[in-house]
């Protein structure tokens, strides 16, 4: 608010002010990037042998969470919260693994992926419709629906199983371009550039931010609040389906309980990534990087000789401390 305090009639902002404003607007994302870089430097030093393989495994472990974080971010930006992200990921994961089981070629796997994405979009839209038409708070509706989607996942595949062609798994596990740039990272970047970047500056994206910062004001200015919120969930479903496909690709199989971890961790990634839970503030890049921070922190500690069981403790402490620290920073800035 204070950064954008340009009042009509006041002199145009100077270039230095614009630069300062740009930096301060992106300050959080820059900070998150810095933390990831520091973590990677530490990892490179404590790992017995730091090779491109370590980058690969970071991408493999962080990719599903990064998609979960994207799914959660779109919804949180428009002042919702989606506690069904994990279940939807599990559901799309098992559908993909079930359908790809007997497929041999990459082409057929990609065709199935497209179908799974459509299913994700449909589920997301249903979530959005339920939230908007029930007029019950998002957190309650998506919580109830998380049981539903988790149940459907169990029907599709009661126990871990299914399969996927090796060529599909290599979409996330191999590095075809350059050994230091895993394919998974390219796919993640591709989805970000193809889906989110065009979206955010268009009418729908702006409407999401508007609804997120003040739904009443947005409604009075002609934004269709209900439709915008439904669309946010639709995109959430799309990203969650990407997450489910990432699970299928990185693990090779489908597991009906694979999503449990992602619901609440995606909320954590969103907050660490600088998206306000009150809506309207932040982007998708921060949460994506935060997802990798959460994955890398555990790896670094394991390399440093800490009991792997402390992973959850570290992630929890990281969430709390970053939010605490960020809150203090923001308050000092006014």
């Amino acid at each position: 608010m204070s950064a954008a305090g340009h009042v009509a009639g006041a002199p145009a902002p100077s270039r230095a002010f614009k630069l300062r404003r740009a930096v301060s607007r992106q300050a959080w994302t820059l900070g998150v990037v810095a933390i990831l870089v520091v973590l990677l430097i530490i990892e490179a030093n404590v790992a017995p042998l730091f090779t491109s393989f370590d980058v690969q495994s970071l991408v493999i472990s962080g990719m599903p969470l990064a998609f979960a974080a994207m799914a959660q971010s779109v919804v949180v930006l428009s002042r919702g919260i989606d506690l069904s992200v994990g279940s939807v990921m599990a559901l799309t994961n098992v559908i993909a693994a079930q359908l790809m089981q007997d497929q041999k070629t990459l082409g057929s796997a990609l065709l199935i992926s497209a179908l799974v994405l459509v299913i994700g979009v449909a589920i997301g839209t249903l979530n959005g419709l339920a939230v908007v038409f029930s007029r019950v708070p998002d957190i309650v509706v998506t919580l109830a629906l998380s049981f539903v989607w988790a149940g459907v996942a169990l029907i599709v595949l009661p126990t871990p199983g299914g399969g996927s062609p090796t060529s599909f798994q290599e979409l996330s596990t191999a590095s075809d371009l350059w050994e230091w740039i895993p394919n998974g990272l390219l796919i993640l970047a591709g989805v970000y550039l193809v889906v989110w970047v065009p979206l955010r500056s268009r009418r729908i994206g702006l409407a999401m931010y508007a609804v997120g910062s003040d739904a009443t004001a947005a409604g009075l200015s002609g934004v269709q609040v209900g439709r915008t919120r439904i669309l946010a969930y639709t995109f959430g479903g799309l990203f969650a389906a990407f997450g489910g496909l990432a699970l299928t690709s990185t693990t090779g199989i489908g597991s009906p309980l694979s999503g449990e971890f992602y619901t609440l961790t995606s909320v954590a990634a969103v907050v660490i990534g600088g998206v306000s839970l009150a809506g309207g503030k932040g982007g998708l890049l921060g949460p994506i990087i935060a997802a990798f921070i959460l994955s890398a922190a555990v790896t670094v500690l394991v390399f440093a000789g800490v009991d792997a069981n402390y992973g959850q403790v570290i992630q929890g402490a990281l969430i709390v401390l970053m939010v605490m620290f960020g809150g203090l920073l923001l308050r000092r800035r006014g």
Partner: protein, 329 residues
């Protein structure tokens, strides 16, 4: 309120009066739903309508309702406590792994876990102004992680639920009245009276209604929030210990499955997620409804997958119905 305003122009219609009645007396609607569920269970299995069955339902509802009590308080302040499942599990585990050194000490240690987690949450939310969702989510990770580390170093120690805890959690006093009902009743009476009459209760509602106004009016919000989360931490510990007594085991995933139902119980019972609205009597009904629903699904012998789907859809239907009724009146 809107009914009163309209009454000046024209006499209220019967349907409006009915809706107003439902809104003023939400327990009636919840009670009707509970009765319907019990009737459904009885149709499926005639012997369901019995004292023993009621005792079983109450025994299973008690840990959920006590956890939901803490959740209700947190929701009233516009917060939420997502660490309650982890706290309950940790409290039960700590109690059970210390059982060999005396029961009183073991239970005190278990409650101490709840106190410690509650204090940490309260300091984070009250003093450092971290959003409750994030603070308690982070704490849940920390508690679960520490517990896993501890348990992996304690494989030889083993756990043991003290007999008195088993008695309270799983046994009956007279006939079918379970011992845990006494504890639950005590919690309920204190909480309902405190929410209605005490300064703490009024502050909870006032703060939940409008935190900014209360802060401006000079209220020390951090004290209230600290007390709230300490209380929810302690109630989580009690619920976990009770559950350990009921199933006579304390494993590492003991109470995790109670967390989301505890939120659902409070919300079904009419507690607003936006703070300031809600009662514990409503939450009790919510917990009973969820427990009976669970036993109905067991009776119908539904597959776990379909069970989750039905469970989710019914919660959704209940809260939607509630929201519609509340709005139109």
């Amino acid at each position: 309120m809107s009914v009163a305003a309209r009454a000046e122009d024209a006499p209220p219609r019967t349907s409006d009066r009915f809706k107003a009645f439902i809104v003023d007396q939400p327990l009636v609607l919840l009670g009707a739903i509970l009765v319907l569920l019990v009737i459904a269970c009885t149709i499926k299995k005639p012997s369901y309508f019995s004292g023993d069955q009621a005792g079983a339902v109450l025994r299973y509802a008690a840990p959920l309702a006590i956890m939901a009590a803490g959740q209700t308080i947190a929701l009233l302040t516009r917060g939420i406590d997502l660490s309650m499942g982890a706290t309950a599990t940790a409290a039960a585990y700590v109690m059970a792994s210390n059982a060999s050194d005396g029961t009183v000490r073991a239970i005190a240690l278990g409650l101490g876990v709840g106190l410690a987690v509650g204090l940490a949450n309260g300091i984070g939310v009250g003093i450092f102004l971290v959003q409750p969702l994030i603070m308690t989510l982070g704490m849940a990770g920390i508690v679960t992680g520490l517990l896993t580390v501890r348990a992996s170093g304690n494989r030889l120690g083993g756990t043991n639920v003290p007999s008195i805890v088993r008695d309270v959690g799983g046994e009956s006093l007279v006939g079918f009245v379970p011992n845990s009902l006494i504890l639950w009743t005590a919690v309920s009476v204190v909480l309902i009276l405190a929410l209605r009459g005490s300064g703490f209760g009024r502050m909870l509602y006032a703060y939940g209604n409008n935190p900014t106004a209360m802060r401006m009016a000079g209220m020390r919000a951090w004290q209230l929030l600290l007390a709230t989360y300490v209380l929810s931490g302690l109630l989580a510990a009690v619920s976990g210990i009770l559950l350990a007594g009921l199933i006579n085991a304390a494993d590492l995933g003991l109470a995790d499955s109670l967390l989301l139902p505890s939120v659902a119980a409070a919300v079904i019972g009419g507690t607003s997620i936006f703070g300031g609205i809600g009662t514990y009597s409503g939450t009790i009904m919510g917990a009973l409804i969820l427990t009976v629903l669970d036993s109905l699904l067991t009776l119908l012998n539904v597959d776990d997958a379909y069970r989750q789907i039905i469970y989710g859809l019914i919660i959704l239907a209940l809260v939607t119905l509630y929201a519609q009724v509340q709005r139109r009146a």
